[in-house]
Every structure is written in C-alpha cells, then in structure tokens.
Symmetry: C2
Subunit: 219 residues, 2 copies
C-alpha cells in the first residue's frame, strides 16, 4: 500500500508542477502580449485560464480520494492539506496573468501602458516572469534558497508598484483617466502576483521545514 501511496503523492506533486508551469506560460505570454500589443496571444492566455481552474479541481479531487483511500497521518496528511493551499495560490496567480492579458486586449491596437511608465512596466514584466520561473523551480526542487529569491522578487515588485503610483501622482503627469486606470490596475496585478508567489513559496517551505513563518501567510 505504501508504494501505491508514494506514487499517488508523487502524481499530486506532478499536478502542482503542471499548474506552476501553466502559470509560468500564462504570465510570460501575458507580458509578451502587453509588450508587443499581440491580441492573439492575449486571447490565448484568457482562454487557457479555464485549464488552470480544471487542474485546481483535479488537485482537490485527487487529494480527497487519497485521504479517503489511504487515511494518511502526520507529514503525509500535512502535505495533502498544504497542496490544496498551494493549488489555490497558483490558481490566483493564473487569474492575475489573465487580468494582465485582458488589459492588453482592451487597449488593442494601442498599448495600455503610457510612455511615462514603459520602463517601470518593463521591469515588472521581467520580475514577474522571473518569479514564475522560480515558483516552478521551487515546486520541482524544494530548494529553500529559491524561496528567498521569490521574496526578493516580491520586494522588487512592491517597489515598482509604489513607483508606478508615484509617477501617476507626480507633478507634470499628463495621462488621461483611462491611462491612469490602466496603470493603477496593472501595477496592482503585478504586485498581487508577487504576493501570491510568496504565499505559495511559504507553503512549500512549510512542507520542507514545518515552519509556517509565524502563521501570517495565507492564500
């Protein structure tokens, strides 16, 4: 029985890796759609989000079945319950990638990013792409150094979020209301993307070390 259970747990871990790879593809594509004003790519990201929701439900169902059939205790049980939180966090990251793609689609054939904010958003795209790569690495490899890098990327995204807002509020800013709205919401999507990446990574660290960082993280 134990061998079967190990195989099932491993399948569940594979599901989480698959979800993380979906998020990675979604945010990379959303960022490319944003930069290149690529409507087709934006629409693909939006259409693909359903697949991530389906994966989340698969993780739920697999977890419920595993608990029922195997009646795990201790670390195995903790792994299963934590997997549910991780899948929820990945699903939220996918939603945020979708929101970025929706902003690109809405503004098409223009860009939703005014010239004043090109540089900030270029850095946000880079940081969010990097974060999504790290989340895949972390879920695959459980290397705690990667978790620290995710926190560092989140700090970068927080700073860029602040910067985007302060540019809007600076004297001499000339954007119209639509531009202000696009910048405000897009900056927030990236900032939230980083937050959820940190929550996911804390859950992984919890699986490895048993420490939930004082219980202040939640998805």
């Amino acid at each position: 029985m134990r061998t079967i259970f190990t195989a099932e747990l491993s399948q569940l871990a594979d599901d989480l890796v698959e979800m993380a790879e979906y998020v990675q593809a979604a945010i990379h594509r959303a960022n490319t759609a944003l930069e290149k004003k690529d409507l087709k790519l934006a629409q693909q990201v939006i259409a693909d989000d359903v697949k991530l929701d389906d994966l989340e439900n698969r993780v739920d169902e697999r977890t419920i079945l595993l608990i029922a059939q195997q009646q795990p205790v201790g670390l195995d049980l903790r792994t299963l319950v934590t997997s549910l939180r991780i899948s929820a966090g990945l699903e939220r990251m996918g939603d945020l990638a979708q929101h970025v793609a929706e902003a690109a689609r809405r503004a098409y054939p223009e860009s939703p990013i005014p010239a004043s904010h090109r540089d900030v958003f270029k850095k946000m795209s880079e940081a969010s792409n990097h974060t999504s790569d790290l989340v895949v690495d972390l879920i695959r490899g459980r290397d705690l150094n990667v978790a620290a890098q995710i926190v560092s990327d989140d700090d970068t995204l927080d700073e860029l979020h602040e910067k985007a807002y302060s540019l809007l509020l600076a004297k001499g800013y000339k954007g119209d209301t639509q531009e202000t709205l696009d910048v405000a919401l897009l900056a927030r999507f990236f900032e939230r993307f980083g937050d959820h990446a940190v929550n996911v990574s804390r859950r992984i660290v919890y699986l490895v070390t048993g420490d939930l960082d004082g219980g202040r993280s939640s998805i």
Copy 2:
C-alpha cells in the same frame, strides 16, 4: 467515536460562522469608517485582520487533526476539505474589508470618495454589508435561497463597479489623479468582495447538494 466526531465537525462549523461574523463586522466597520471619515474605526479594522488570519490557521489545524484522528470518508471528508476552501475565501473577504479601511485611513481627514461618486459608493457599501450578512446566514442556516441572494448582490456590485469606472471616464469628470486612483481601487475591492462571497456560497451549496456548478468556482 461518531459522537465525538460529530461534535468536532460542529466545532469546525462554529469556527466558520465565527470567521463569517468577523468579516461581517470588518466590512460594516470599514464602510462606516469610509462614510464618517472615522480614523479610529478604520485602524481597528486594520488591526483586527490578524485575528481572521489566526482563525483561518485554526480551521486548518483543526481540519488536519480531525482527518488524522477520525479518518473520515465520503461526505465527512468532503465537508472537511471544503471547509478549507471556505475559510480561505472568508480570509480574502476580510483582506478586502481591510483594504477599504486602509483607503479611509489614507485619505483622513478627507474622504477618498469624490462628490461625483458618493451615490455609487453608498450603494456599494449597502450591497457589501448586505452580502456579509447573507454569508453569515448561509453558513449558519445552509438555506440555498440565501445563496441566490448573494449572487444577486454580486450582480449589483458588478454593475456599481462598472458605473464607478464609467463616471471616471465620462466627459466633464474633473477629479485629480489621486481621486481617480481611490475610486478605481475602492470600486475593485467591493467588486472582488462580491466575487469571493459568491465563491464561498458555491462551496456551501456544494456541501449541501454535491453540485459544484460545473467546477468553475474557485477560491
């Protein structure tokens, strides 16, 4: 054993009611702080959010313990796993109430709501208060008619969110950038509050009927 398990499940249901009541208090207070420009009340909402996070962790721990000790199957197991999703949704609703309070605090001693948007936000406050009341009722009573009312409130919040944005984009809108930002973000917080209430209510309906509405809801 079964009697003890029933008592434990009942305790878990009480925890979820307590979380829903926290959310209810938080959004009612945040809305009052917003309307009355009440800094002290805003700060209380912000400080209290930690308690909701603690409650969520308590639900997690209780669920893990219950599964380990009782090794439930079937509906009992489904109830436990769904409880985790419900607690995550309630925690997110609490975060959004906190964000509303933060907007009130930031603008103090002014209001973050410009005169152009008073009416829309008055209705958003009413709808979100009402939604939070309904979520408490639904978790307490499991009456499916209440779930339908939550969906209806969410539709109202979506319409008001659209209205807030269209007022910003209307010709003749004279607000400055800070006002535009405040309106955009606040409207989004209320809109998301309604979305999470619907997700929570779908999970409750799932517990009662076994139907997850095609699997498209996720927290």
